[in-house]
């Protein structure tokens, strides 16, 4: 996993902006996104799915949600 987006502690809509920005600019087809509220987890999931990415897994590490996202095969 070469790219990570750390959006912990940031309020809406910044986690979504950061995740979409990373998706747009990066050549990677998979990355990790860190958020720390349920609302951000839902918002980021919804946003990346609308861009043709998939949320592969969500791990809860203490106060942090780690989302593994992957570009869906065309």
């Amino acid at each position: 996993m070469s790219q990570t987006v750390d959006a912990r502690g940031l309020s809406c809509p910044q986690p979504v902006l950061m995740a979409l920005d990373a998706i747009k600019k990066s050549q990677e087809t998979e990355m990790e996104v860190f958020v720390d509220t349920e609302a951000s987890r839902e918002n980021v999931s919804r946003a990346v799915e609308s861009q043709g990415w998939k949320v592969e897994s969500i791990a809860i590490e203490g106060e942090t949600f780690r989302l593994e996202i992957r570009k869906a095969a065309k």
């Binding site: 502690g9 940031l10 809406c12 809509p13 979504v16 902006l17 509220t37 946003a47």
Partner: protein
């Protein structure tokens, strides 16, 4: 675990319940097109505790108290109570102050703008155009890296402060209830006439507030976010909830005979189109920069978000400033210093938008 309220149909159902509930609250006694208005009701609370002395807008609105405590209950039940804070609190405080000043020039927050539209008040269209313009300006700043910075995790007590304050206000209301024809009971002020004297029965207001607090916390319902996400991401999720609110309120208004289309003579409204719009440009920009509509700030406060709580306190102080300094509008039109306040508020918000940036971390490693 799947959160059904956060699905498309979940947020539509929440919006519809809020819209229908607001129209019913009007039928049961709340002021016209003001079944729920977060700005107006916080302004009434400021009056109830004597922060301003505008005699017609003094009432301890139980709906607002219910919003915070309902959200607190939902956050505790679903393990989402996360005491946090420290993201530019003083900036958020003044965003709250100016959001209220703008809202009171229009005479309503985004919630009431929707309810006014659903009641046939044409002036709401000007307010909504202004709101969307203000949010659009806010999205430009967000795209350019505007940020109030990260929050810190805080000890539980900090998350309980604002819910405790609102619970205490409710207890005060029970100790010092409204007496017919009296302007004051104990330490609380009440309105004898005007919108502050119009209210649904206490138990119904409390229950409505609690129910909305719970479902709005679960669904992340936000009237500002609805337009922001549409502009920024072309995402209709939150917007579908707001659309459901308007349609449900409109239908219930039709059934109850509360729908009356027109511009003149609408309840608690004025017809100065430019300032209806400009007031909401200011409010919309302030809400966008603060990351949530006034309702959402209450629900976040219930989750333990101390920054949202600061914004709420800013709005209550903003209401006092508005009425003490002649900034608030009345059905006769804008207040003597309302226009100056909107200009100053826009200037302050633009400075905040241009200057508040944080170094982004966590990009490519």
């Amino acid at each position: 675990m799947k959160n059904v309220f956060a699905t498309r149909w979940g947020i539509i159902a929440v919006g519809a319940v809020i819209g229908a509930g607001a129209a019913l609250l009007q039928y049961l006694g709340n002021p016209g097109n003001m079944g729920i208005c977060v700005a107006c009701f916080e302004r009434d609370i400021a009056g109830a505790v004597g922060f301003h002395r505008a005699a017609v807008v003094q009432y301890m609105r139980p709906e607002i108290i219910g919003f915070v405590l309902g959200s607190l209950a939902a956050a505790l039940a679903f393990k989402e109570f996360r005491p946090r804070g420290g993201s530019a609190p003083i900036v958020r405080f003044f965003l709250g102050v100016f959001a209220m000043i703008g809202a009171l020039v229009f005479l309503g927050c985004p919630w009431r703008a929707m309810l006014r539209l659903a009641g046939g008040d044409g002036n709401a269209i000007l307010g909504l155009i202004g709101l969307i313009a203000g949010i659009w300006i806010g999205t430009r700043f967000l795209k350019k890296g505007y940020s109030l910075g990260r929050t810190q995790k805080l000890p539980p007590a900090s998350g309980w402060v604002l819910p405790a304050v609102f619970a205490a206000l409710f207890v005060l209301m029970l100790i010092y209830p409204r007496a017919e024809g009296a302007e004051k009971t104990g330490i609380l002020f009440y309105s004898v006439k005007g919108p502050g004297a119009m209210y649904a029965p206490l138990a119904i207001s409390v229950i409505a507030g609690l129910v909305i607090g719970v479902i709005a916390q679960r669904s992340r319902f936000c009237t500002m976010g609805a337009f922001r996400d549409l502009i920024l991401f072309r995402q209709v999720h939150l917007f579908s909830g707001v659309a459901a609110l308007v349609i449900a309120a409109w239908l219930v208004n039709l059934i109850l005979g509360q729908f009356q289309a027109g511009f003149a003579g609408q309840p608690v409204a004025h017809t100065q189109h430019v300032w209806n719009a400009m007031g909401m440009v200011l409010a919309g920009l302030a809400f966008a920069l603060a990351g949530g509509c006034p309702g959402r700030q209450l629900f976040l406060s219930g989750e333990g978000d101390g920054d949202a709580a600061i914004f709420v306190l800013g709005m209550i102080v903003g209401a006092a400033v508005s009425h003490n300094f002649g900034l608030a509008s009345s059905p006769a039109g804008v207040g003597p210093h309302g226009i100056a306040a909107v200009v100053i508020g826009l200037a302050v918000c633009l400075v905040i938008g241009f200057t508040m940036k944080q170094p982004q971390t966590g990009g490519a490693r």
